[in-house]
């Protein structure tokens, strides 16, 4: 019986479809704790934020925060040797900081300069470094060994962090991280609720979504390898059995 061989052939286009999860027991505990915190605190606050603050104001907050992240995105564009993207990021920063009033409005996007998020985890991905294994971080949620490392590196790409560190204004960094998380959560309330409701293993679903999404981000959205529906390895009788209905 070539059962184990079948598992291997499930990976599309050479990319492993599943992320390794040697810490699964620990990850599940942290995941459950995160979920508890989310249900009792984060989601209610995010819901309140969404209901109280009007859409344009929340968009303004997000645009402002994203504009502040431009140096990190630019650094990673350059490290990925993507000169075009670096140009777009630079233009976006200057347009939005000026015409967009300190980044509150995304005027650059209206001119066709779309934002594309980059981080050092993705940069490592483009250099062929795999995710290592799956990690669930307290509060911060799904990540991988590679992407957790990437977060630290990105911290040092950000001039604002140096400013905050040097002037003892660390609460700037904290406020920014908190607000960014709140904004992101407020935009995914229904989506996450629906995924949880329709999951029989929420943890495994999130793990799969995280991994697929990161792979897609690393490819910058181009999808050269949609998962193949490859039933090779099946015997002919199985194939027939699966089609007769």
């Amino acid at each position: 019986m070539a059962l184990s061989g079948l598992a291997a052939c499930a990976s599309p286009g050479g990319e492993p479809s599943q992320i390794a999860d040697p810490l699964e027991p620990v990850n599940r505990v942290i995941f459950a704790a995160n979920l508890a915190v989310d249900t009792t605190v984060i989601e209610p606050v995010a819901t309140l934020y969404r209901d109280v603050v009007p859409d344009p104001a929340r968009d303004g907050v997000r645009n402002f925060l994203r504009n502040l992240e431009s140096p990190v995105v630019l650094a990673n564009d350059l490290l990925q040797r993507d000169i075009d993207a670096a140009g777009v990021t630079t233009k976006r920063f200057f347009i939005n900081t000026t015409v967009g009033i300190l980044g509150l409005f995304d005027r650059a996007a209206e001119m066709g300069l779309q934002r594309r998020d980059e981080d050092f985890g993705q940069t490592m991905g483009t250099y062929g470094i795999g995710p290592g294994f799956y990690v669930v971080l307290p509060i911060l949620g799904p990540s991988s060994l590679r992407d957790t490392g990437g977060r630290f590196v990105d911290y040092y790409f950000d001039p604002l962090n140096y400013y905050a560190d040097n002037t003892d204004r660390r609460n700037i960094t904290l406020a920014r991280t908190g607000l960014r998380a709140l904004d992101a959560r407020a935009r995914t309330i229904e989506t996450l609720d629906e995924i949880e409701r329709t999951s029989i293993d929420f943890y495994a679903t999130i793990r799969s979504l995280y991994h697929q999404r990161r792979q897609s981000d690393i490819r910058n959205g181009s999808a050269p390898s949609l998962p193949k529906l490859d039933l090779s390895g099946d015997s002919e009788e199985d194939r027939t059995a699966s089609l007769e209905d």
Partner: protein, 200 residues
């Protein structure tokens, strides 16, 4: 909230209202038309206001089973465990899977309600055709949705929907594999979870 589910689904499929199939030759064009046509028929179901939610649910279910190759999707979602399943388990799994997947697809595609779907391009991929579409949203970046369509002996059927690089099918398979592994490799563990879920 839950009882509004069918409306939600109705809205999802309404995204396909103004589908515009790009002109391309041969098989690709046929497949693009198929995706566009499915959207039109979804709209017809939506328009029937007089239907009760359960009637509408039923209508979408039949649309789903007509447009999607559910037996094949189910078979693939079970991955290598298909071979371990007994004939009885396979039969029960197919039934449970269809109920489960209808609900899941409704919920997960539901957030794109009221948007416009545009066919961008299509390309052959092995024995399938990949139709790339975009969900165009006012003032926000478009969402890329790829449809893997298998051209069967009779008519084309959707086998996978990939939203921004995330495959519905792959996600399902990863989840099912995890459930089975956690119940000691037993397919019965999955069936029991699906039974519970479907009767919720």
């Amino acid at each position: 909230m839950i009882k509004f589910r069918p409306f939600f689904f109705a809205l999802v499929l309404a995204t396909t209202v103004s589908v515009t199939a790009g002109a391309q030759g041969g098989k690709g064009e046929k497949t693009e038309t198929f995706i566009a046509d499915l959207g039109d028929r979804a709209l017809q179901v939506l328009v029937l206001d007089s239907q009760t939610p359960s009637e509408r649910d039923e209508a979408f279910r039949s649309l789903l089973s007509e447009g999607f190759d559910l037996p094949l999707i189910g078979r693939y979602a079970l991955g290598r465990y298909w071979r371990r399943a007994t004939p009885e388990q396979r039969t029960e799994y197919r039934k449970l899977f269809e109920d489960f997947i209808v609900e899941t697809y409704v919920a997960r595609l539901g957030e794109y309600s009221g948007e416009t779907l545009q066919v961008v391009t299509s390309r052959p991929d092995d024995k399938d055709t990949i139709v790339t579409t975009e969900i165009v949203r006012e003032g926000r970046p478009a969402i890329r949705v790829d449809w893997r369509v298998r051209n069967g002996d009779t008519e084309p059927k959707i086998v996978d929907v990939v939203v921004e690089g995330v495959s519905m099918l792959l996600t399902q398979r990863d989840e099912f594999a995890s459930v089975i592994q956690r119940s000691g490799g037993s397919v019965e563990g999955l069936l029991s979870r699906l039974r519970d879920k479907n009767s919720e």
